[in-house]
C-alpha cells in the first residue's frame, strides 16, 4: 500500500474498515522508511521487530476489542524514554542507554494501542534549530535535501513530512516543535505548559519544556494532544486540560479578533515569509475574523532572556550525565575529577558544552542577580505583555520562523544567527502559552508556517481556529520526494549508531 500523505485519522479509518491490517500498515511504513530514510536520515533507531510484534498482537484481536487508535503507528523524538529501548538524545553521552521506564506520554500511547516505529533524530539534548547538532547524523528537509529540517525536533518534522510515520511526538523548549514544523510543511503544536506530563522527557529546560504533536493536519494534532494530555501525579507541574480538544470542526472565524504581533513581523522576517504571512492575514479576514496590529514590546527581549534561563536550567539538568551510573564513561580516568572532566568533555558536543558553560556562569555567585534574576524579570514582563494582549484579542499571530529552511552548514559557524531562528517562538515558551504552527504557503518552493498563539489552556479553541484556516488555505503537504530504491550502502554506512535495529538486518514487506 502507499502511505504517502496518509494521516493518522486515515490510518485509523483504514484499520476500522479492515481495509488494511495493522501488520500491513506497519510494513508499509517500514518499507517507506527503507526507501527514503537513507536520504532524509530522520530515524536514529527503527524498531522493526518491536513494531511488527505489536502489530500482529493487534491483528490477533477481534475488531470489537480494539481501542480507537489501536494499531496506528507513531514515531518518537529520541528524547522520550521508552523502557528497554535505546534513548540517546542524539548524544554520545547516552549512547547505549536503555531507560528502565516509560515516559508518561509513551505509557499513555502504549495503553491506547499505538505502535512505536522508532526514535527520531534531534539536536543533541534538543539544543539547536537545525538538527545539525546531533552527534550521529544530519537530518535533511524532505522539500530540499540540501536544507535543514529545522530543530530541534527536525527528525520528527522531516519524518512526518516524508510520510515515514503518520505522526510523531516532539518537544518544544523555545520553538523545537513549531520551527521544524514550519520548515517541513507540517502541523506542530506546543501545548500550554502543564498540559502534558514531562515525566520521561529528558529535561533540557524544565520550566519551558513541553511535549507535543507533529502531524500532517490539525485534526491529527488534536487527536494526539488528547491522547497525551492530562495531569500526571509524577509531574507536579502538570495540570492537564480542562476538557478534551475533540475533533476540530470550525469552518469560519466569525467575530474572532486576531492580534498581529508587530515585533515578530515585518522587518524581522525575510520578504518571502512576509508575503505568505500576509496571505494568511487576508485568509483570516475572508473567514470572518478581524486582524489588527498589536505591540508586545518585551518580546524583543525574549531571545536574550531565553538564552540565560534555558542554559541555566540545562547546566543543572545535564549535570547528572557524569559517567557514574549510566551512559558514557571515559575509558581513561586517573581520579574522580578527571573522570568527570573527560567523560563530559568527550561525551557532549560543542553546542551542549556552550550552553552548560553559559548556564553555569549565569548561576554563579556574583552573577546570579545580573543574569538569571534579571532574565526571570524579563520573563514576567513578556508574560504580562501577552496577558494584556489577550484582553483584546482571541488569538495572536506571527510567522513561525523568520526564514524558510536554510542550507545545511549555513548557520553552524554563527550561533547567534542560529539562535535568532527561534525569535518568534521563544516568547511563547517563556509565557507558557499554547501555540500551533500550520503550513501557510511556500516561498521559493519551501514551506512557510503560520504561528497561532492562544491564552493558557485554550487548546480547543486554538485548534478550532487552526482548522478553519487550514481548510481555507489548502496548502500542499506532500514534498516532491521520489520513491527510489533504498539509499546507497555508502550513505547507510555513515549512520553511526551501531546498536540500532536497522532495516538492512531484516526482510521487510513482500
Amino acid at each position: 500500500m502507499d502511505v504517502t500523505g496518509l494521516t493518522a485519522w486515515g490510518c485509523r479509518e483504514l484499520l476500522a474498515k479492515r481495509e488494511v491490517s495493522a501488520t500491513e500498515l506497519v510494513r508499509a511504513y517500514l518499507e517507506r522508511i527503507y526507501r527514503v530514510d537513507g536520504r532524509i536520515q530522520a530515524y536514529l533507531l527503527v524498531d522493526a521487530e518491536g513494531a511488527l510484534a505489536a502489530a500482529s498482537a493487534v491483528d490477533a484481536k477481534a475488531p470489537g476489542e480494539r481501542l480507537p487508535w489501536e494499531g496506528v503507528p507513531i514515531a518518537l523524538k529520541d528524547i522520550l524514554c521508552v523502557k528497554g529501548v535505546e534513548t540517546t538524545c542524539a548524544s554520545r553521552i547516552l549512547k547505549g542507554y536503555r531507560p528502565p521506564y516509560d515516559a508518561t506520554v509513551v505509557a499513555k500511547l502504549r495503553e491506547a494501542g499505538l505502535i512505536f516505529l522508532g526514535k527520531l533524530n534531534l539536536d543533541e539534548f534538543a539544543m539547536g534549530s537545525s538538527t545539525e547538532n546531533s552527534a550521529f547524523q544530519v537530518t535533511r528537509n524532505p522539500w530540499d535535501l540540501e536544507r535543514v529540517p529545522g530543530g530541534s525536533s527536525g527528525g520528527s518534522a522531516a519524518c512526518v513530512a516524508a510520510s515515514e510515520a503518520p505522526w510523531a511526538l516532539g518537544s518544544d523548549t523555545g520553538g523545537s516543535i513549531r520551527q521544524p514544523a514550519s520548515l517541513c510543511g507540517v502541523v506542530g503544536l506546543k501545548p500550554s505548559y502543564g498540559a502534558v506530563s514531562r515525566y520521561g522527557l529528558v529535561a533540557f529546560a524544565s520550566s519551558l519544556d513541553q511535549i507535543g504533536p507533529l502531524t500532517r493536519d490539525v485534526r491529527d494534532a488534536a487527536a494526539l494532544l488528547d491522547l497525551i494530555a492530562g495531569r500526571d501525579p509524577r509531574d507536579s507541574t502538570s495540570v492537564g486540560l480542562a476538557e478534551p480538544v475533540g475533533v476540530p470542526d470550525w469552518g469560519g472565524l466569525d467575530g474572532l479578533r486576531f492580534g498581529v504581533i508587530t515585533e515578530l513581523g515585518g522587518e524581522a522576517c525575510e520578504p518571502g515569509v512576509q508575503e505568505v504571512f500576509s496571505t494568511a492575514v487576508d485568509a483570516i479576514g475572508n473567514l470572518g475574523g478581524m486582524c489588527e496590529e498589536v505591540s508586545l514590546p518585551s518580546v524583543t527581549r525574549g531571545v536574550a532572556a531565553y538564552y540565560i534561563i534555558a542554559p541555566s536550567e540545562a547546566s543543572s539538568n545535564l549535570a547528572r550525565f557524569d559517567g557514574v551510573r549510566y551512559g558514557y564513561r571515559t575509558p581513561q580516568a586517573g581520579d574522580l575529577y578527571e573522570m568527570y572532566v573527560r567523560t563530559r568533555s568527550e561525551g557532549f558536543g560543542a553546542e551542549v558544552k556552550r550552553r552548560i558553560m553559559i548556564g553555569t556562569y549565569a548561576l554563579s555567585a556574583g552573577y546570579y542577580e545580573a543574569y538569571y534574576a534579571q532574565a526571570q524579570r524579563t520573563r514576567t514582563l513578556i508574560r504580562n505583555d501577552f496577558a494584556r494582549a489577550f484582553e483584546r484579542f482571541d488569538f495572536l499571530i506571527s510567522p513561525t520562523s523568520p526564514t524558510v529552511a536554510f542550507t545545511v552548514g549555513e548557520r553552524t559557524a554563527d550561533p547567534l544567527a542560529m539562535y535568532l531562528s527561534d525569535l518568534c517562538t521563544i516568547p511563547v515558551n517563556l509565557a507558557g502559552l499554547p501555540a500551533v504552527s500550520i503550513p501557510a504557503g511556500f516561498s521559493a518552493g519551501l514551506p512557510v508556517g503560520l504561528q497561532i498563539i492562544g491564552p493558557h489552556f485554550s487548546e480547543k479553541r486554538l485548534l478550532g481556529a487552526a482548522h478553519a484556516l487550514e481548510q481555507y488555505l489548502k496548502v500542499e503537504r506532500v514534498p516532491p520526494l521520489s520513491e527510489e530504491a533504498a539509499g546507497s550502502a555508502a550513505s547507510r554506512a555513515t549512520r553511526e549508531p551501531a546498536a540500532r535495529v536497522t532495516l538492512e538486518d531484516r526482510e521487510v514487506g513482500g
Partner: protein, 504 residues
Amino acid sequence: MRQDVSKAGGLVPLFGNGGWEAVIGLEIHVQLNTRTKMFCGCRVTFGEPPNTHVCPVCLGHPGVLPVINEKAVEYATRIALALECRIAEHTIFHRKNYFYPDLPKAYQISQYDLPLGVGGHLDVELEDGTLLPVGITRVHLEEDAGKLIHAGGASGRIDGADYSLVDFNRGGTPLVEIVTEPDIKSPEQARAFLMQLRNLVRQLGVSDVNMEEGSLRCDANVSVRRPEEPFGTKTELKNMNSFRFLHHGLEAEIERQIALLEAGESVVQETVHFDPVTGRVFTLRGKEEAHDYRYFPEPDLPPLELSREYVERIRASLPELPAARKERLIRQYGLSSKEAAILAADRPLADYFEAVAQATGEPRLSANWVLGDLSGYLNARGLDVEACPVTASALAELLGLVLEGTLSGKMAKEVFEAMAASGKCARDIVAERGLGQISDVAQLEAVVARVVEANPGPAEEYRQGRERVLGFFVGQVMKETGGQANPQLVNDLLRKHLGTAAKA
C-alpha cells in the same frame, strides 16, 4: 592533601584559659522516619542490602521528576513548630548544584532563601540548672545523598581508593536541617543542646534521632574571640558522629584555633574534619574546597503553600512539649524545678512517673522512687525506662504496700530489686519471702500483752517514768515476730498496754 593541623602553633593552652571565648553554631541534620523517600515512592530503610530500595527517580535517571512527600512536609513542620519557628506560608525548593558520586542528579533538592521555618529557639537546661536560650535560625527540608564505600588505599577517602562503591538506599531520604544562631559557648553546651534537641525530636515521633546510625548528624561552625570583640574567622567542623565526638571535636578545634591565634597566625575559613581515631582535627585543602553551589529555584516543583489552617492543625496535634510539661509537672505534682526538668526532658520517664503518681496518689513518694531507685537501677544497667522489667503499675503496687504499712521503706528497696530480677509482682515476693510487716492489730496486741505480762519488772520501771525501757519491750516484740512487726504500731500498742497495766 591531608594535613594534620592539630599541632599548629606552639603550646596548646587548655580550653577556657588565656581569656578566649568560643562561639559555636550548630548545623543539625535529622533524618525523618517517613515510610517513603522525599521525592519518590521508595521505602526509607536502614541496614538493607545495597541498592535494593531505589528507582529511576532516586537514581537520577534522565527524564525523571520529583514529587514532594506530604508526610515529610508535615514532619518538618512539626519540628519547626516544636522549635517555636515561624512557618512560611509560601516556601520553595532550590537546587544546590555540585558533583559527587553519591549525589545522583548532581544537585540536591534543598531550600535556600525561603525555608520552611525561621526564627525559633530552644532553651537548654545546663548541668548547673541554668537555662541557655539558643536561637534557631532556620529549619528546612531537603533530600539525603547515598553512601560511598571506598575500597583500598590507606586513607579511606575517595582520593587514593582502588575503587569506590555507591549505595543509593539512603539517597533521597527526607532530611530536616536545623541551623542555630551562634549562641553556644562551649563543647559542654553544644552537647547539652544536641541532647535536648534529640529528646525533643524523639518526642515528636518523626525520627529515630540516632547518631550512630546517622539519623542525627551534627556539624559545627566554630570561631574564637576575646570577649566583647567581633567574631573571629570560623571553620566548619564535620564528622562528629556521636555526642562524645561532638564534645571532643569541638574541644580539639577550639584549642587549635586558640593556639594559632596565640602564635600570631590566623584562622583560615575552611572545612575541618574530626578524626575519632586520633582525636584530632585535620583539613582537606584543595579543589574540593572551592564550592559555588549555584542555587536556583527548583523548576520541577511548584511552590509549597502551607495554609494557616494546615499549620494550626499540626500545632494542635503536637504532643506536650518539654517546656510546657515541665511547668505542668511543677504545678500539678509539686515537683522541684530540677526534678521536673529531668522528667520533662525524658518523655517515657515522665510518662512512667505520672502513671505511678496517679495510681498511688502520692506524687512525692513516686518522684523519690522514679528519680531515685528506679533511675539508679536503669542507669546502672544502661536501660531505657521502656525496657524496665518493673512496670509503672508494678511499682505503684509496691509503693501501695509501703503506704499501707505492709513494707518499710528499707524492705521495699529489697522487694524492688527482687521484682526487677524476677519480674514477679510485689505481693508475690512479699508472700514468698514472708517479708510483710505485721500490722495486724489483733495479732500484735496478743504478742505485746504476752511480753508485758512476762516482764513485770521493766513494766513497772516504765510506769515510773523510765521512758527508755520502751526500747527493751520493742526489742522483745521484734524478737517474737522475727523483726516483721510494724514498728509504729508496736510503739502504740506497747504504750497502750503498759499504760493500761499501770492503771490496773
